[in-house]
Assembly symmetry: C2
Homo-oligomer: 384 residues x 2
C-alpha cells in the first residue's frame, strides 16, 4: 500500500513537470491510484515506473539534505495549486506533483511575502545594478526575492536579497543538488543557508528547455508579483510575466535607456499595459502590499518665491533684474490698481525681496537677486 507522499514522489521521478495529463489525472483520481495504475500499464512511462528504485531516491535525499513536500504539508505553498486552473502557456500547465527542497528556510512562510525578479542572462551593468538594489530594498522591507539562479539579472537579484534582511529562493530547472550553472555552486550554497532551493525535478536531474519553461511558471506562481528588469526581443523572462498574467499575479517592469536593446521587453510590456512601470522598491510595495505607505515624492527644494500670493508673484516678476520701476508702472504691467499694487509691494518689502530706492522707484533688494535668479531659472528665465 503506497502512501500519497510516496506516490507523488514516485510520479515526480518518472514524469516531466507541467504535464497537463498527469496533473489532471492526479487531481481527479489521486496520486496513489495514478501511480498504481501506471505500474499496471504497458508503455515506456510504466517501464520507467517499474524500474524506479524509490528507496534509493529517499536515501539519496536523506544524505543530500533534500526534502520532498506535498499538498497538506506545513511548508507546501498552496498558491501553486492555482496552476491547476489557469491558462496553459506553450502547452504546459498543471500544479506541481510535489516540490524538492534544499535549505534552511521555510518555503511557505517565505513565499507568503515574496516578489519574483526575472530578467536577461546577458544583462547590462545598469540592469544588474537595478535588480540588485530593488532586491536588497525589498529584502530589507521583509520580502523574500524569488528568481531562477541564472547568470545576469537572476544572480543580481539573489545577491541583492542576500545583502538584505530576508532570505532568497532559487527555483531550479534541474535537481536541487545540481548547481546549474556550475559557476553558481557557491551562490546556491549561500542561498540554501537561510533560504530555499526549489525544484519539481528529483535530485541530479539536469535542466532542459521544456523544464526551464515549466520552472518559469513556478517562479510566477510562488510570488505575489513578478518584476522583469531586462530582456531583449527574444526573452525567456517574458515567459514568467506571461505566467504571472495568466495567474492573475501583479506584473511589473523596470524601464531603462531606450538606446538599450536589453530594455526592449520591459518597455514593450509597459507600452502594451501588460506590466506596470516600477522604478524602486516603494513602488513595488505599493502594488504587492496595498496597505503600504504611499511612495514619498523626492524632496523638492523650496524657493523664496514659493509662498508668494498670485498678485505678489505677478508684481515681483515685473521688477526688472537691473534698474527699477515706479509703483504706477508696475501696477499697470501687473494689471492691478495702484493701492493694491502698493500693498503688494510693501508685503514683498517685508519679505525682503524688493526695496524702495531714494528715487522713489522699486527695485530688487540686493540679496533678492539670488532668489529672483533662482525663481526665474525655475520659470525658464535668466536675468535679462
Amino acid at each position: 500500500m503506497t502512501s500519497e507522499r510516496m506516490a507523488r514522489m514516485a510520479l515526480s521521478c518518472v514524469t516531466e513537470p507541467a504535464n497537463p495529463l498527469v496533473a489532471r489525472a492526479i487531481a481527479e483520481f489521486g496520486a496513489v491510484d495514478v501511480w498504481e495504475g501506471l505500474l499496471a500499464q504497458d508503455g515506456l512511462m510504466s517501464k520507467r515506473a517499474r524500474e524506479l528504485k524509490l528507496k534509493e531516491v529517499v536515501s539519496e535525499c536523506g544524505s543530500l539534505g533534500i526534502r520532498f513536500v506535498i499538498p497538506g504539508d506545513d511548508e507546501w505553498p498552496a498558491q501553486v495549486e492555482q496552476l491547476g486552473c489557469c491558462e496553459p502557456v506553450h502547452k504546459l500547465c498543471g500544479a506541481p506533483i510535489g516540490l524538492w527542497l534544499r535549505g534552511g528556510g521555510d518555503l511557505a512562510k517565505l513565499c507568503a511575502r515574496s516578489v519574483s525578479i526575472v530578467g536577461a542572462r546577458a544583462a547590462t551593468a545598469y540592469g544588474e545594478r537595478a535588480a540588485g538594489e530593488l532586491a536588497c530594498d525589498l529584502s530589507d522591507a521583509g520580502y523574500a526575492i524569488i528568481s531562477g539562479g541564472a547568470f545576469g539579472i537572476d544572480a543580481a537579484a539573489h545577491r541583492g536579497c542576500l545583502a538584505g534582511r530576508t532570505p532568497t529562493i532559487a527555483v531550479l530547472a534541474g535537481g536541487v543538488n545540481r548547481a546549474y550553472p556550475e559557476a553558481h555552486a557557491s551562490l546556491f550554497t549561500r542561498i540554501a543557508k537561510d533560504g530555499v532551493l526549489v525544484s519539481e525535478l528529483p535530485p541530479s536531474e539536469h535542466p532542459t528547455k521544456v523544464r526551464f519553461l515549466g520552472r518559469n511558471r513556478l517562479i510566477a506562481a510562488l510570488a505575489i508579483g513578478t518584476v522583469i528588469v531586462e530582456g531583449a526581443v527574444r526573452s525567456g523572462a517574458k515567459n514568467s510575466i506571461t505566467w504571472a498574467t495568466s495567474l492573475g499575479r501583479i506584473t511589473m517592469a523596470v524601464p531603462g535607456p531606450v538606446t538599450s536593446a536589453m530594455s526592449y521587453s520591459p518597455h514593450q510590456l509597459i507600452r502594451n499595459a501588460e506590466a506596470v512601470l516600477v522604478t524602486n522598491s516603494l513602488e513595488v510595495l505599493e502594488l504587492v502590499c496595498p496597505g503600504a505607505p504611499d511612495v514619498p515624492r523626492p524632496a523638492v527644494q523650496r524657493r523664496a518665491t514659493d509662498d508668494l500670493s498670485e498678485n505678489e508673484l505677478r508684481v515681483y516678476e515685473f521688477i526688472p533684474g537691473r534698474g527699477s520701476r515706479s509703483a504706477e508702472e508696475l501696477a499697470m504691467r501687473a494689471g492691478l490698481n495702484i493701492p493694491v499694487c502698493l500693498s503688494v509691494l510693501h508685503s514683498l518689502c517685508d519679505k525682503e525681496l524688493v526695496m524702495l530706492n531714494p528715487a522713489d522707484q522699486w527695485q530688487l533688494k540686493p540679496a533678492s537677486h539670488v532668489a529672483m535668479a533662482d525663481h526665474l531659472e525655475n520659470a525658464g528665465l535668466r536675468l535679462l
Copy 2:
C-alpha cells in the same frame, strides 16, 4: 471704425495671454466691441489701451518681418480654438486672441502634421540624444517638431528637426523678435528660415512665469501629440502634458534609467497612465497617425533548432553534449515509443543535427555542437 484684425492686435498688446475673462468676452461680443468697450472704460487696462500706439506696432512688425494672424486667416491653426472650451490649468485658459509669427514656414500647414517635444532644461546627455534622434526621425517622416526654444530638451528637439526634412516651430513666451535665451539667437534664426517662431505676445515683450505657463498650453494645442523626454520632480514640461491631456491630445513619455532623477516625471506619467511609453519615432507615429505601418519588431536571429517539431526538440535535448545514447534510452527520456523516437532521430539526422555512431549510439553531429550550444544558451543552459 476698427477692423477685427486691428482690434485683436490691440487687445493682444494690452492684455496678458491666457486671460479667461478677455478670451470669453471676445468669444461673446467680438474683438471690436471688446476693444471699443475697453477704450471707453476707466481703470488701468483702459489707460494702457488709450496709450497704445498701434501704428507704431504695425510699422515695427513690418520692419522686423513679423506678421499677426487671426481666426479666419489661411495660416491660422484652428485647433488652438479648442483652448476656449477645455479645463483651465493654473487658472489660465482661453483661445489666443491672435498669434505673432516670424519665419518662412506656414504655421497651419506645418501644425497639421506635427508633434511637440518638451522636457527639462537641465537635461542629461542621454535625454538630449533621445530627443534629438526622435525629432530627426519624425522630421524625416514628414512631421514638424514643436517646442519652446529653451535650453536642454527643447534645443535638442529643434536641432534634431532642423537635421531632418521638415521645418520646426518654436513657441516663445516673449516677442518673436527677442531671442530668449540670448544664446539661442542663431538657433532661432535657423528655425525662422523655413519654420516659424510663434508667440501670443507683441514684439519686444519679455517672458514672465505666467507667460511661460500660457505658452505651454499653445505647445500642447498646436500639435497632434506631445512627448516629454526628461523632467525632474518639479518639471515645467509636465505642465505641457497636463494641457495636452486637458485638450484630449495624445500624451507620450520617453523612459530612461531609473537611476536618473531627470527621468522621474516621464516614469511617473507612464506609471499613472497619464502618458504612453514611447521608445522611438515609429511608436510615436503609430499613435499620432493611426494609418501608419505597424512598428516592426527588431530582427531576431534564427536558430538551427527553431524549425524543429516538439518531438524533434524533445529528443534533440536528451542527446548529451558529450558522449552518446541509445535510441531506446532517448525514447524513454523523451517519453516517446521507440518507433516514433527512431523516425524523429532520422529526421534530426536529415537536418544534420545528430548522427548514428559505429557503436549504434546516437550523438550530436560535430557541426551541430554549435547549434546545440546556441540552442541551449537560448534555453538558459550551457553544455553540461
